[in-house]
């Protein structure tokens, strides 16, 4: 059955057909016809954000916590340019979102019309793909294709730019998936390579699983299969910042996060292994440290859905192109069918070594004195919230790394953080997106005071939609991560890394109509956190912490995994001029 309707109605119809329930957006002249259609229906809930960057991060939070695509709708010109940071963030972290932008009418494109921007030009480099739709008859198909592209292969953000006359014009609506898309990335891994990996696993004496966001993106089945594989082999497992939750933090084989601020045991295991099995991670520079000293003696296998990730930075011996869940399923089959066994004795010896590294207790700290240490704050937050149906978002900085270190994730899709782009201002809108998808869950944004100010306007959104998001601010009155680097690299010259003239966060909360809680005493912390959890509504929690705490362990720029710093005393002269140019 073909239906004729206006382009604006098509947008809403296509979203409904795609199963969209929530759209995060902000209106303006170039999307008024679409907003008019939104007004006249009840299938899709529109969440009015306070800034378009917030709409895109909220859509990201929604997508990451559900595994479904997130949708944002913004106007032309400034609406579109405000979406750019969110798009880039989603591209770097492979998050499937669909951003719809209004555009000036087709006959005015190119004339520098009011609120005209070359949106597809500007966003070409920060989307997986984008489209300018000039013909209403092609609009519905383009939207369906956009969902397909965003979700297939390595997921990512897509954008559809819709001129206002195309929204007003009438055309034929085409149903979902009428035309088969040519875009169909390979999901099944090469069975010979998978067999080779099984062989290598049977022979390995010092193996490690190095997992990443690809496991999460592949769906919950991938995490389940990964757990089976770890169980079947008894190999140790670590993960990148993006992969936290793919294997439970309470699991016996868990080494903690790896990389620049990863645990001593995870990084030493990576450095000393003889078989590295990379599952859905990308050898990012936060992980590898110095390339030519990265895990020098290992055979490396790499499972990835994106061919361009394989051999990009680190040369691998067993490349397997495919979707994590598909490949792990095949790998487990091969492992069992061939009756493969691990070298139990060697692996036990390896674990003995790993346990010695573990014994350094690199995340150990003592809470002494009257000032709350950030590690203590997060340990208490973990203890008091871990039994809740809990979702965590973060901002970017020291607090983000501490959250990764001191909070434990048992399941995928519970941890939303800006990894690849490191976007301050991500956490508050992301927490709103998460809470929209999980109305009854406990959603906490672990924030730094500086990051939090970047998108604090979204507290208004939280109030309007009664989203009880908890903003847990580790307030060190510093751009802490910047201050740490200045201490280590720039002779303790703290250029512009102070958070001066901070607002009174409790009063700020009250101004929004939310609850404000301040805590500056370790003895009061538990009660204060409990009060935050118990409050049925948004909370801004101002947790005043030690101002000069550094985040350890740390692999300094330009150093190898086994050159990690564990505490302040080791810092002097640890970073060379070569290291200093690295970010």
């Amino acid at each position: 059955m073909t239906k004729t309707m206006t382009g604006a109605k098509m947008v809403v119809q296509a979203l409904i057909d795609q199963g969209v329930e929530v759209v995060f957006g902000y209106p303006g002249g170039a999307v008024l016809p679409i907003y008019d259609e939104i007004f006249q229906q009840n299938s899709i809930q529109h969440v009015l954000v306070r800034h378009e960057q917030g709409a895109v991060h909220a859509a990201e939070g929604y997508a990451r916590s559900t595994g479904k695509p997130g949708v944002a709708l913004v106007t032309s010109g400034p609406g579109a340019t405000n979406a750019v940071t969110g798009l880039t963030d989603a591209l770097m972290d492979s998050i499937p979102i669909i951003v719809l932008t209004g555009q000036v009418p087709t006959f005015m494109i190119g004339t520098d019309a009011f609120q005209e921007a070359d949106t597809v030009g500007i966003t070409r480099a920060c989307t997986k793909h984008n489209w300018l739709v000039k013909d209403t008859d092609k609009l519905a198909n383009t939207i369906h294709e956009a969902f397909h592209v965003a979700l297939s292969g390595r997921p990512g953000p897509v954008l559809i730019d819709i001129p206002k006359d195309v929204q007003f014009a009438t055309g034929t609506y085409s149903e979902k998936a009428k035309r088969k898309s040519h875009y169909a990335p390979q999901v099944k891994g090469d069975i010979d390579m998978i067999t080779e990996l099984a062989e290598a696993m049977a022979k390995a004496k010092r193996p490690v699983f190095y997992t990443g966001g690809g496991v999460i993106n592949s769906g919950t089945a991938a995490s389940q299969l990964l757990r089976e594989l770890v169980e079947a082999t008894g190999f140790p497992i670590t993960s990148t910042l993006m992969g936290l939750g793919c294997y439970p933090a309470s699991g016996p084989a868990w080494l903690g996060m790896l990389g620049m601020h990863g645990t001593y045991e995870a990084n030493m295991t990576m450095h000393g292994c003889d078989l590295m099995i990379n599952i859905g991670a990308r050898f990012d520079d936060r992980i590898t440290g110095r390339i030519d000293a990265f895990s020098p003696k290992s055979v490396k296998a790499h499972i990835d859905i994106d061919a361009s990730s394989i051999n990009k930075v680190i040369r691998v011996d067993i490349p397997i192109l495919g979707d994590v869940a598909h490949v792990l399923e095949a790998l487990l089959k091969v492992w069992k069918a061939q009756g493969r066994k691990t070298d139990k004795e060697a692996v036990a010896k390896w674990w003995k070594q790993i346990n010695e590294w573990r014994a350094t207790d690199c995340l150990g700290f003592t809470q002494d004195g009257p000032i709350i240490r950030p590690q203590y704050a997060l340990s208490r937050l973990e203890a008091l919230t871990k039994d809740h149906d809990r979702y965590i978002t973060t901002e970017v900085g020291q607090h983000q790394m501490w959250a990764a270190q001191y909070l434990g994730f048992e399941d995928p899709n519970r941890w939303m953080t800006s990894g690849g782009l490191g976007t301050m201002g991500y956490g508050t809108p992301a927490s709103i997106g998460v809470q929209m998808a999980h109305r009854d869950a406990l959603v906490i944004n672990v924030a730094g005071e500086a990051s939090w100010l970047m998108n604090m306007q979204e507290m208004g959104t939280a109030m309007q939609y009664r989203l009880p998001v908890k903003q847990f601010i580790l307030n060190n009155e510093r751009l802490g991560m910047v201050r740490q680097w200045q201490q280590l690299l720039h002779g303790e010259r703290y250029s512009q890394s102070w958070s001066e003239a901070l607002p009174d966060f409790v009063k700020l909360a009250e101004a929004f109509g939310a609850k404000g809680i301040r805590c500056d005493n370790p003895d009061d912390l538990d009660e204060a956190i409990k009060e935050m959890i118990a409050y049925d509504g948004p909370v801004i929690f101002d947790c005043l912490v030690e101002k000069h705490e550094n985040c350890f362990p740390m692999i300094p720029s330009g150093k190898a995994h086994n050159e990690m710093l564990l505490k302040n005393a080791q810092v002097q002269g640890s970073i060379t001029a070569t290291g200093a140019v690295l970010v």
Binding site: V149, H182, D285, D292, A307, I310, T576
Partner: protein, 190 residues
Amino acid sequence: MSALNIKKGASSHSAYDLRSTFGDTIEKHTLAVIVENEPGVLARVIGLFAGRGYNIESLTVAEIDHTGHRSRITIVTAGTPQVIVQIKAQLGRIVPVHEVHDLTVEGPSVERELALLKVAGRGDARVEALRLADIFRASVVDSTLESFVFEITGTPEKIDAFADLMRPLGLQEVARTGVAALARGGQTHV
């Protein structure tokens, strides 16, 4: 090596010396990229090369299948073996790209380029230009009493050689199409 010496291959995303562990020989490759002929597709391909710091030595594009809306982009690029592999994988990631062929490694291929050269002169130089054009099998497509426009087809090297010879004889202007290339033999790519 100075402390701040960053190798040329370092990527734009990070100052890390990403390619130091890989082979250093620069190879020249001719790629045939079959794309959906939709707006912006050429910008995507060029943007990829600019954004990631890859070389473009030559690039040609035209629609080759009007009913199927397919275009063929022929790119001559240079890089270390790993960079070449990356370029192909990155091209393959672009949504409207259907196929990427490395004609340099997929077997023998023919490469041709067309050029127009304007040569102005009188007397002996003019006679000599015409004589050389004949040797190179360039044809005269425009002529005045003081100038010729030659059309020449061949490998880029042949065109370089011809242009070098024309220079002292009054070469004024050159227009080149860039390389078009096809695999030899019966198999097809499109």
